[in-house]
């Protein structure tokens, strides 16, 4: 992995560009508890970046800082070369950042199709007066977005459940629908919070394939939190390791695996 920030092509043919997002000296506190302590790292355009660490290390909090749900007391977030002012989460979404959630956050009262269509909201333009009249602009826009959503449905192989109410789906399919909803926004940066949690080996293989395909076909930058070490090592280009709110490792999977601090904190005593 090159040290400079020039774009380059990886061994398997993907292009990784310059720095897309940078976290600079982020500190996040809840009352007296410091969830994140002075953490800095960067995310490069087109790469797959993993954030790992023991439970309670602050990984989800970091993702929440990136999505604008938590506002760090200290530090800055830089996006596409500019300092990102503190903004509401929906404004962050409009910048092209989408995410999935650790405990599924789908809209249980709607069907799969409607859930994924909500992902298109940042791309929809028609005003409410046109929507009230339906015929004309509103309908045309609905159809156009539906066409795009159907492509994602094909991509994730969930055609058979598109009209099913989300609440009645099994866990693995719910995770896929959540991914579809995030993809529907055509994001520049995709945040995945434990996408493999609770899955069996087959489901993990499917999900890994999807994640790689998303990165490959759409060039989406991906940040993922994951506990399964095998997945992390196979999928990611670079890894950030957190423990008790601090960063204790940052580099390629191989570099991180060999880091003694990481081993101590997380991987346990190495045995062969």
């Amino acid at each position: 992995m090159k040290d400079s920030f020039e774009p380059f092509v990886t061994a398997d043919g993907r292009t990784i560009g310059g720095v897309l997002m940078e976290m600079r000296n982020i500190t996040l506190r809840f009352g007296g508890v410091e969830a994140i302590r002075d953490i800095s790292f960067d995310i490069r355009d087109g790469e797959i970046r993993a954030i790992i660490g023991p439970n309670g290390a602050g990984k989800s909090s970091m993702l929440n800082v990136i999505s604008g749900f938590y506002h760090p007391q200290e530090g800055e977030v830089w996006y596409r070369g500019e300092r990102r002012a503190p903004m509401r989460p929906f404004e962050v979404a409009r910048l092209g950042i989408a995410r999935t959630f650790q405990n599924i956050a789908l809209f249980e009262g709607m069907s799969v199709l409607d859930n994924i269509m909500t992902g298109r909201l940042t791309l929809m333009q028609t005003g409410i007066w046109h929507q009230a009249l339906w015929w004309g602009r509103a309908q045309a826009e609905e159809v156009a977005h539906r066409a795009q959503v159907e492509k994602i449905i094909d991509f994730l192989e969930i055609q058979h459940i598109r009209k099913t109410p989300v609440g009645s789906l099994p866990y693995g399919l719910k995770k896929r629908v959540e991914l579809a909803r995030a993809l529907a926004a055509e994001p520049k940066l995709l945040l995945l919070d434990e996408p493999m949690a609770g899955m069996n080996v087959e489901e993990k293989e499917d999900m890994s394939r999807f994640i790689l395909d998303v990165n490959d076909e759409f060039g989406t930058t991906i940040v993922l939190i994951e506990h399964d070490m095998g997945v992390v090592m196979d999928l990611s280009d670079r890894v950030v390791v957190m423990d008790y709110g601090r960063k204790i490792g940052d580099g390629t999977p191989d570099e991180v695996r060999a880091n003694p601090e990481v081993i101590d904190a997380y991987l346990g005593v190495a045995h062969d």
Binding site: F30, S60, N64, Q102
Partner: protein, 328 residues
């Protein structure tokens, strides 16, 4: 002292008393909410029903007389006997416990895992049902409630304050009595909740139904217990309010007034219900006293709600409520 100021003090004192009565109804809400997460809209109607039953038992009314007369063409009204107040009160308390058991069995049990808004709407339905039921059972005419509580302006206070300030305060004896009773109830309920085994179980249930079940707490028993206590509190509130203004439908509207009390105090706090009640009681009376005449009066219809609304905008969880931290 200037007369206006003294008058204002008198209004304030009356407001405090009214506040205590509001707090009494609010207490019932807090208990049920703490234990079952249900906001029991029917609490006011429970107070009305308790008062109706008390009067009905006391005066030997035949329950469902109106209905029986309509179906069978009879002309029944009363058994002809009268029960002493204490007996009637005890019997009514038993009825309220029975009602609590029925409510748990027929309604609550089936709504265990539903969202709070569904539970709230179910209690609205329950309130309507109980109201109609109370009317059918005991008749909808206005009744006077007399259980021998002290009534009328307290002459002692009138004299004493006249000697101190040159202006006699008119404070109703009933209000004083109600304050004392309410204070006793609050203290005992707070002690119960904090220190007894059942109280602890109650708090566990309020936190997490599933977890409480898994440590062996019987949800059903706790719910029956809580609704019985709430029923008893409703009975006391019903007696106080009923003695004050007669037993009639508007008693159930007190429940609506308890809502702003809870907003201010926080839904889960017993002391909050008290403080909220006092603030609303005093605030209402003072506002009507000072600004009321300028805008045509009757501001007590809406002042409490607007006050609560304004307060909530700045502190969404109320004075003593738990701060809701949203996590994703």
């Amino acid at each position: 002292m200037p007369e206006q100021l003294l008058f204002a003090m008198e209004v304030t004192l009356n407001g405090l008393m009214a506040g205590v009565l509001y707090a009494l109804v609010a207490l019932g809400f807090v208990l049920i909410f703490k234990a079952s997460g249900v906001f029991n809209y029917a609490q006011g109607v429970l107070a009305l029903f308790a008062a109706l039953t008390l009067v009905g038992l006391q005066q030997g009314q035949i329950p469902f007389a109106h209905l029986i007369n309509a179906v069978f063409g009879t002309e029944l009204h009363a058994f002809g006997w009268q029960l002493p107040s204490l007996v009637a009160i005890v019997l009514t308390a038993v009825v309220m416990i029975g009602l609590a058991i029925l409510i748990e069995r027929l309604v609550l049990r089936h709504l265990v895992n539903q969202e709070p808004i569904i539970l709230f709407m179910a209690t609205i339905g329950l309130a309507y049902f109980l109201e109609g039921f109370g009317d059918v059972m005991w008749g909808a005419d206005v009744k006077t409630l007399d259980v021998g509580l002290p009534q009328g302006i307290s002459e002692t206070i009138d004299e004493v304050t006249f000697n101190w300030f040159g202006y006699g305060f008119f404070i109703d004896r009933l209000d004083i009595f109600a304050t004392v009773i309410a204070a006793l109830l609050v203290i005992s309920l707070t002690l119960f909740s904090q220190f007894s085994k059942q109280g602890r179980a109650l708090r566990a249930v309020a936190d997490d139904h599933q977890a409480a079940l898994s440590v062996g707490i019987s949800l059903r028993f706790i719910w029956v217990l809580v609704w019985s206590i709430a029923g008893f509190v409703a009975l006391v509130a019903g007696i106080m309010w009923g003695a004050k203004m007669g037993v009639q439908f508007s008693l159930s509207l007190i429940a609506l007034k308890a809502l702003p009390v809870l907003m201010l105090g926080g839904f889960t706090s017993i002391p909050g219900a008290i403080v909220g009640g006092l603030i609303i009681g005093v605030g209402e009376k003072l506002f009507e006293f000072s600004i009321g005449p300028l805008v045509g009066g009757a501001t007590e219809n809406w002042f409490a709600y607007v006050l609560a609304l304004v307060f909530l905008v700045f502190r969404p969880q109320g004075l003593f409520g738990e701060r809701i931290i949203e996590r994703v």
